[in-house]
Symmetry: C2
Subunit: 87 residues, 2 copies
C-alpha cells in the first residue's frame, strides 16, 4: 500500500476544514503535515475532497512513496505526531 | 543520494532562523516544508544546526527516502515551491 506524506498551505479560513478532512485519512504529524498508508482509491478520494474545498492560492502536495514505508523517519526535538506508532 | 522531505514546527520566535537554515540546504515547498537531495553528511549537519536552534517544544521531522526520488509528487492547487524542477 502506498505510503503518503501530505502537506497543505491554505487560507486561514479553510485550515479547520482541511485539518478535519486530512485527519479522516491520515495521521497528523505537525502543523499542516500528515502521513499514513492510503490505497490508490483513498488517495484519489482525498485529493478530490481537498480540491472541492480549495480556493484562490491554496496548495496541497502529496508525496506518494513507492514503498509501504519510506526509508527512514528522523524526529528531533518534540515529536508531535498523534500516534506513537513511529517510535 | 538520499532525497529528504523536512518539516518543522517551532515557536514563532524561531521561524525566521529555521527558514533561513533550511533554505541553505533544501528547496522551500510551502509553509515549513522543504525537500531536496542531501548527502548523509549534509543531512547530519542540518540536523545538528537545527538542534542548536531548537528549544522547548520545537520539533523537526526528516523523511529520508531510500531512492534518489520518491515515487511520485502530486501538487494540486497552487504549487508554491521555489523551483520549477518538479514540473
Amino acid at each position: 500500500m502506498p505510503y503518503v506524506i501530505a502537506v497543505y498551505d491554505v487560507n486561514q479560513k479553510r485550515t479547520g476544514r482541511m485539518l478535519k478532512l486530512f485527519r479522516r485519512y491520515l495521521t497528523w504529524v505537525q502543523n499542516s503535515v500528515f502521513e499514513g498508508d492510503l490505497t490508490m482509491a483513498q488517495l484519489k478520494q482525498l485529493q478530490q475532497e481537498a480540491e472541492s474545498l480549495m480556493q484562490d492560492s491554496d496548495g496541497v502536495v502529496f508525496y506518494q512513496l513507492r514503498d509501504e514505508r519510506y526509508s527512514e523517519r528522523i524526529a528531533i526535538g518534540v515529536d508531535k505526531a498523534e500516534r506513537s506508532r513511529f517510535l
